[in-house]
């Protein structure tokens, strides 16, 4: 399970299920841009952009209950650019995979 159901249910409860459906769609539209930004900031060794992209991903993941994705993004946000770019690239690959899983589950959940 990649989405914490309690968090997601609470979100639907407070903001309204229909609104959360729209919000999930917005996230699914925006997240690929954030992932690309993370990778591009790593390539450019731009610490600010790297931190901001990781921070945004973390923030949204926590909102939807995408716990694993949030934890991975948080590690990059707080750790900043690694001296070894390969380590960051590996972490970004892991984030891509976690996102794919979370996104698939969110798509199923948003109508539920």
């Amino acid at each position: 399970m990649h989405i914490d159901r309690t968090t997601f249910a609470e979100l639907q409860d407070s903001a309204g299920a229909d609104f959360v459906t729209e919000l999930v769609d917005t996230f699914l539209e925006d997240a690929p841009t954030l992932l690309a930004e993370l990778r591009s900031a790593r390539t450019a060794a731009d610490a600010d952009r790297f931190r901001r992209a990781a921070h945004s991903l973390k923030s949204n993941s926590v909102t939807f209950g995408a716990t694993a994705l949030g934890a991975l993004a948080r590690t990059l946000e707080l750790g900043g650019l690694n001296a070894d770019p390969a380590a960051d690239l590996a972490a970004i690959d892991a984030i891509d995979a976690a996102y794919a899983e979370a996104a698939a589950e969110l798509k199923g959940l948003r109508h539920g």
Partner: protein, 362 residues
């Protein structure tokens, strides 16, 4: 300075509800922005959205908002920079800010509070906490607005702004300025000859006319005693041509009294006359009194001299008398007549006195 701001439509916010406060949300992340707007909308507030700090600041400068919900991590201008700009801006420093962020670390939270943020809510924001914090912030803002409205009523705009900028501190600073004293000739006899209600009405009209003439030339009325008033030109805010301002105000006051007398004449009432004294120089300006009750005023020789000149208008039979410094600053701009040196109480040497006539003091 505190102009009414034109209302602009909310950018991208959900439909505005008729009640509630006008809130601005600054967040670069679209999901966060939409979710915050939704939460606030559900609380009955009207919401406008900004996608970074720079845009938020522009919107705040263009329109009045009751509260800013501010993210920290943003491109172009982050939340810390927004807080710094707000703090430095007299017009915006009182806009309450609640920081909503998932930035971690107590140091960041402390920094926000030190920079003037009212509160800090970690993201994702708990809707119950959000409602409570917004309610508390808006209530505080309402009280502050009420307080500044009171300050404006009992002080002048300039003093209110000076208070807001410098905070309240007893004690003075040296300033260059012109002081004006003015009162109604034969006021005691006038009071005795008419019902008190009529005197109050006369004073209210008189003060309205005098305040208007004085403030339109950059002066600040800081004391009203019975039919007399004291005005300062050059404090609390510096005024480049304080002599010219004071003299132009005096001439306008005389014109106003003439108009007022025409009205009184039509009602079968006796005309009134005023005397005005103006002196220029260094004075000590500041708040005097106690911590619980104080007034903004100026003291010093210049102030005493202006009061003496005003009293001397009765003797000299002139409406406006000024000292040598004021006269010199006027140059050729006014119709001035030297009346010679006059010995004043409290002055070791006689003082040169000049009468300013109506006419060319433009």
């Amino acid at each position: 300075m505190a102009d009414a701001r034109p209302a602009a439509p909310a950018r991208g916010g959900p439909a505005a509800s008729p009640n509630g406060a006008r809130l601005l949300v600054a967040d670069d992340n679209k999901v966060n922005r939409l979710l915050m707007a939704r939460s606030l909308d559900l609380l009955g507030h009207r919401v406008a959205l900004a996608e970074n700090g720079r845009i938020a600041l522009e919107m705040l400068r263009g329109e009045a908002y009751d509260l800013l919900l501010l993210d920290i991590e943003m491109p172009e201008m982050d939340g810390f920079q927004v807080l710094e700009h707000l703090k430095a801006d007299v017009q915006l420093r009182d806009v309450p800010v609640i920081v909503t962020s998932s930035v971690e670390g107590v140091a960041n939270i402390v920094r926000c509070i030190e920079l003037g943020a009212e509160d800090y809510l970690p993201k994702p924001v708990n809707p119950v906490l959000l409602r409570a914090r917004i309610g508390a912030s808006l209530e505080k803002k309402r009280l502050r607005d009420q307080q500044s409205a009171l300050v404006r009523r009992f002080a002048t705009t300039e003093v209110a702004q000076d208070l807001a900028q410098s905070g309240f501190a007893l004690g003075g600073r040296r300033v260059q300025g012109s002081v004006m004293f003015s009162d109604i000739r034969g006021f005691t006899a006038l009071v005795e000859s008419q019902p008190p209600e009529e005197t109050i009405e006369l004073l209210n009209t008189y003060y309205t006319l005098m305040f208007d003439a004085i403030s339109s030339h950059g002066g600040v009325v800081n004391q009203m005693i019975g039919d007399g008033l004291m005005a300062i030109f050059g404090a609390p805010l510096p005024l480049a041509d304080h002599c010219g301002g004071a003299v132009r105000a005096a001439l306008e006051m005389i014109d106003m009294i003439e108009l007022f007398n025409a009205e009184r004449g039509a009602e079968g009432k006796a005309p009134i006359a005023i005397g005005i004294g103006i002196a220029t120089g260094e004075m000590v300006a500041g708040y005097t009194g106690t911590q619980s009750r104080a007034t903004y005023t100026c003291i010093g020789d210049t102030v005493n001299l202006a009061a003496r000149l005003e009293a001397h208008t009765k003797v000299a039979q002139r409406a406006i008398l000024v000292d040598a410094v004021t006269r010199a600053a006027l140059g050729e701009r006014a119709d001035v007549e030297a009346l010679g040196a006059v010995p004043f109480k409290g002055k070791a040497a006689p003082v040169e006195v000049y009468a300013v006539g109506p006419g060319q003091a433009g």
